[in-house]
Symmetry: C2
Subunit: 229 residues, 2 copies
Amino acid sequence: MLVMTKPVQRIERRTDALSKARIVEAAIAILDAEGEDALTFRALAAHLATGSGAIYHHVADKDELLAAAADAVIVRAASEGEPEATPRAAIHALALGIFDAIDAHAWAGAQLSRAPWQSAMGRIFESIGQQVQALGVPEGAQFDAASALLAYIVGVAGQNAANARLMPAGTDRNTFLSEVASRWTQGDPGRYPFIRQVTAQLGDHDDRRQFLAGIDLILAGIATRRSAP
Amino acid sequence: MLVMTKPVQRIERRTDALSKARIVEAAIAILDAEGEDALTFRALAAHLATGSGAIYHHVADKDELLAAAADAVIVRAASEGEPEATPRAAIHALALGIFDAIDAHAWAGAQLSRAPWQSAMGRIFESIGQQVQALGVPEGAQFDAASALLAYIVGVAGQNAANARLMPAGTDRNTFLSEVASRWTQGDPGRYPFIRQVTAQLGDHDDRRQFLAGIDLILAGIATRRSAP
DNA sequence: ACCTGAACACCGTTCAAGT
DNA sequence: ACCTGAACACCGTTCAAGT
């Protein structure tokens, strides 16, 4: 009986084999192209040319799928940055990377704070923490400092995602913001003097600039902790 | 023909008449008692002893219902505060009120950033803005300062809501946080030196205290803007 | 082991019929 | 005008049957 030599090991599986990675990529494609409501297991199965039940062999349920899709998108954004000269520049780059990722994938903004154990959150926190250490913040103050930066970044991400979701396609961002402001003040404008004043300045408003201004405010606060009295 | 005097105007409608306010209160009751998944139009109708279709005469759809419920809960928390002596104390009180409201109604945390036009967001922003003005921040810097505080508060609210949702009932908060941290570092602990260091300090960790520490960091940063060079 | 796709147990939402 | 509740068009998820 002939012993047939096995064919050279074919490490790569069939290109069309199902895997969690392929499923997540397909989910991201649907979410980006057609929005959150369009992501159904039926649509996903059609997109992957398989049965809807097959997906459950690789993903526990829809929550896990959404979390994995958001995580993939954010991790990609957070690890893109090149090495930066200063801790401040590194934090800016990291923060802007996340800002832009949420801008490009609004559906991921809401997910970011829904599944905090995901790797994206851990990586961001670690990166921020290392830069906080590099700033020379005393060890006892590092936890609070890094947590504040993380919370701020996640908070802005969530708000931007909400704005993107609600903003009618093709609307100018500042037009949308002033509509939101006038909804707030409507009925009783005298009760909202600050919002009225701020809305008047909306003409030259830039979300990205303001986002970084907030980061710098926190960094300035952190700097006051460096040399305690 | 006798002209009958109309009965004295009965301004108050039948106590059991349906109204948006009653629907929203019932929704809050269900959300608090049984969680987000339990809020269905069928359950709500049963709770109100009416047909599920009747609700649509007062509320456009489920999104509006959830937004209104969250708004009601947050507005209540944000307007509870007594007058405070200093702007810092006022901001602390406002922030803690929201923190505790999310703690008591975790489902509202995620909603907070989903519908930014709601009145809660406007009131919080206005209150923060007025305190920022009271701090003596120059007018050109007030918008950024108030926005940073708002984003931070919303960010923490969202993270806390996520933690509350995910934390198995009866688990200690710090135990949960260290489990999250070990998920982050698992596989490659050497890659996460900051998180490992910080996890070791988790013993005497207090979420509320850390929340206020972040507020104070931003306030300290704002203070550096008061006297520009 | 993995995939298929019909079937199940729900949902949000609509709407003819009632009052 | 408001309410009723059955009906509709979907959904996530399961599972017997296939390969």
